[in-house]
Symmetry: C2
Subunit: 276 residues, 2 copies
């Protein structure tokens, strides 16, 4: 067992806790944090050495709160991992599907099971966490209610999986970042994540992409977020293949830094082969 527990956001039994288990192959203990903001603070205050935070879902898109925290924090990205999300309908022991009147879950989980819930003909109520919904249905002893969450959440709260794999689209994956206050060495199969400001979208974004294209560096993700300082000005988050200490990556980063007011390297880390 790793003596330093790994932080995650959410309740015990959440998909994020499942991600920690998968990343460390069961060899790490976990510490829950109420919000992503708390999770980043625990890293910065050295209360925890490592944490796993969701960055992107294949159906819903970017987790914008994580992006905003990466912008403001000195936390570094040390790795990435991909978790397949499998939603289950979870209720009290012995409850049948036909008895369910109300289903609680995170709005994204409810949205991902929309067709299933329509056929079931239940009322849906949005809650703030998938595992937290299971906990709530348990504590309220509500036998006509169910929650949508992972099988792990059902086991955590000693509840029944009434039906597994209820999402409308099976191809549902969440990408997580492993975070710490340190940097990691090149492995030869890396990715780098950066943030830069582009006050004039047409010029600076186009020229930055040109810098990568000219060096044959593969971009894997681009995301924009408001600067919050001036309305309708944006930061761009780029992921590209290579380590910041590789020659061509070092060159492109130097070129960009000369042109932009703001460039932040949030980490170079071993990339996962995304066979999904």
């Amino acid at each position: 067992m790793n003596s330093n527990p790994v932080g995650f956001q959410g309740e015990i039994g959440s998909y994020s806790e499942e991600a920690v288990g998968k990343y460390f192959r069961g060899k790490a203990s976990t510490v829950p944090h109420k919000t992503l903001h708390d999770l980043f603070q625990a890293l910065e205050n050295n209360e925890i050495e490592q944490a796993l935070a969701p960055i992107e879902n294949s159906l819903e898109g970017s987790v914008t709160e994580t992006y905003d925290l990466l912008l403001r924090s000195t936390v570094k990205v040390n790795g990435e991992m991909i978790l397949r999300i499998v939603h289950s309908l979870i209720g009290h022991h012995g409850v049948r599907k036909e008895d369910i009147r109300t289903v609680y879950s995170h709005p994204q989980a409810l949205a991902q099971c929309r067709r299933y819930l329509r056929v079931l003909g239940v009322e849906t109520i949005a809650a703030y966490d998938t595992a937290g919904s299971v906990k709530m249905v348990k504590e309220r002893n509500a036998r006509d209610s169910a929650a949508i969450a992972s099988r792990a959440a059902a086991e955590t709260y000693d509840m029944d999986v009434i039906e597994e794999g209820i999402a409308d689209e099976e191809s549902n994956y969440t990408r997580f970042f492993l975070l710490s206050m340190r940097e990691v060495e090149p492995t030869g199969e890396d990715k780098t994540s950066i943030i830069f400001s582009a006050s004039h979208v047409p010029g600076s974004l186009y020229r930055t992409l040109e810098d990568f294209a000219n060096r044959g560096i593969n971009l894997t993700k681009i995301e924009s977020r408001p600067t919050r300082q001036k309305p309708w000005e944006y930061f761009f988050f780029l992921d590209f293949e290579g380590h910041k200490d590789d020659k061509n990556c070092r060159e492109v980063l130097e070129t960009i830094s000369k042109r932009t007011d703001f460039l932040k390297i949030i980490g170079s880390y071993p990339r996962v082969k995304e066979k999904v």
Copy 2:
């Protein structure tokens, strides 16, 4: 009064309803819809002729649900407008700030008033709508609770504004799209919004931006959303200056359509001067 009511999402008294009032200078009646999905369906079924939907906030970024609906729907963008968001602390008549123990609101509104709420030392509970929170505090007759919403919401539910302008950052604006099933004529001061697929991010995005740069067409916004068909492939949403029937815009759209599998023009519309 406009005889055809304009649709919006949320409860009566929401910021979206306020936006309708501002856009039509008080000359339109309004119809609330529970979800953005319902709002788009009402347009497609010709139950309403026009609707206003939020697309982007200057602090929180894009309203991804609106982007996803624009991708799937045949609804067209006919206009844009910008509403300044001013949050108020709202409670029962005669309640003092010191009596408040719990504050309800949409999580974005709670986040935008974080420092204020910390000083106030209250518990915060996330709800699904700002105006809906006022309604709930009213109906529960909870005199130790308050909600964060607009002054209009306080007036709608006959509640008191305890304090106005409580957000941590004053520069808070939401951009809305006016939607209908029709297209609008060029005015000479227009913007166009398009969606295209970029299965290979480095190549096709870079070349598309090059097409705009070469013609001197100003891009004002770029946003990516997952295709949902294949993990880690994206649609790009672009806003640029000009009308789709302008010569240089027509040319760039023809060029892009030859290269990409998917190009959708979601509308050309009069642009607002964004003096904020």
